[in-house]
């Protein structure tokens, strides 16, 4: 059994360090991540971010209680290729998770590996009952990804924002412990 709960064959999840600011700054500003950065609400989800602003994000993540924000690191080249968030401040029964993979590393299965690690951690090492997430309705990739991992769409918060002249909604998704266990064949 792999004793490191936060690593798989191709990647590991580790705490962010100050030196990660450059790579985080680079991929957060990638145009394809506009509107889906999953960073603190205090920072813009679509306006270009300065290095100083990204330092502030790392600082906030580092100080956060009842939450974690981990760097996704590729084992092949030891590069930070994304970030994974989890927040159980409202209730440890229902943590909220999110994940961003840098555009150069998308569609290569990294996101699935991260989700599997996090869901396994939450359901085998904490008393979580409902793991929830969400995405904007135009983010079809994220919706398909969540569905693939057993999450169910539980409705939409209307008028979450405005994008290219159109209102969009925010889709809520969640997966219950028994549903995850059934998928795992437990």
């Amino acid at each position: 059994m792999n004793e490191n709960r936060f690593s798989s064959e191709r990647l590991c999840l580790r705490a962010f360090e100050p030196d990660d600011v450059t790579v985080l700054h680079a991929y957060l500003n990638h145009p394809s991540l506009t509107g889906r950065r999953y960073i603190p609400w205090s920072h813009s989800n679509d306006i270009p971010l300065s290095l100083t602003q990204v330092e502030t994000i790392l600082e906030k993540w580092g100080k956060g209680e009842k939450q974690f924000h981990l760097a996704v690191v590729s084992s092949g080249n030891d590069k930070v290729i994304g970030h994974a968030n989890c927040d159980w401040g409202w209730d440890p029964h229902c943590p909220h998770i999110s994940l961003v993979i840098a555009p150069d590393y998308q569609r290569q299965g990294y996101g699935s590996e991260v989700f599997n690690l996090i869901l396994r951690y939450l359901y085998e090492n904490t008393h979580a009952h409902n793991v929830a997430g969400g995405m904007n309705d135009w983010n079809q990739t994220a919706r398909a990804f969540a569905q693939k991992h057993g999450f169910k769409e539980t409705g939409k918060m209307r008028r979450a924002g405005l994008r290219n002249g159109e209102f969009y909604d925010w889709i809520g998704v969640d997966i219950l412990r028994p549903e995850w266990q059934a998928l795992e064949g437990a």
Binding site: D91, H129, N130, G155, M157, R159, W170, D174
Partner: protein, 188 residues
């Protein structure tokens, strides 16, 4: 112009309200969330919260005492939080049990909604409740709110699991329900 409805006034909090606010928080029936337990709030806790509220023209919340017009009596508390100016906001309400079914909650909500749509110019008003609180869902629906999404089995209350429920009302829905009002916010 006061925030005034048919039978209620929404006014600012005052030191003499604080014990009643603690009483509302300490009643398992008048507050919805396990997050706010245990029910051992004191007047002093609310005094601290009251005194920490500082003057600002950049607040994203509003907190009001609901007072009945006829008796001048405090009947509950209504608030909004997370205001994104001219965009959206989340509201909440607690009514003392003696006034359940009196229509005062609906009256207070109507006053707050009018304020938020006409003065704050929001485009969406949201609220949270849960599937164990049919009364709250029914009242919200009566006002024009619709269930938007839920987080399944995420509320534990009175030994049972319930879904956390988010409801919302769009600006155009509000003005359709109130044809006496004219929506003059610029369309997007």
């Amino acid at each position: 112009m006061a925030l005034e409805g048919t039978n209620v006034i929404l006014r600012e909090q005052r030191p003499e309200d604080l014990q009643l606010l603690a009483d509302l928080r300490n009643d398992l029936d008048t507050q919805a969330w396990s997050k706010t337990l245990p029910p051992d709030y004191t007047q002093r806790m609310f005094l601290t919260q009251f005194e920490q509220r500082e003057f600002s023209y950049d607040r994203d919340d509003g907190r009001f005492i609901i007072e009945s017009k006829d008796a001048g009596e405090m009947v509950g508390y209504i608030s909004y939080t997370g205001l994104e100016m001219r965009w959206d906001v989340t509201i909440g309400i607690m009514i003392a049990k003696d006034f359940w079914g009196s229509g005062l909650a609906i009256d207070a909500l109507q006053v707050l909604l009018l304020f938020l749509f006409e003065e704050m110019g929001v485009r969406v008003v949201r609220l949270w409740t849960h599937t164990g609180n049919a009364r709250a869902i029914g009242s919200a629906e009566k006002l024009g709110f619709k269930v938007s999404y839920r987080q399944r089995e995420s509320i534990f209350k009175a030994g049972k699991r319930y879904d956390n429920v988010n409801m919302d009302m769009l600006r155009e829905e509000y003005y359709t329900l109130h044809p006496d009002l004219e929506d003059n916010l610029p369309p997007l």
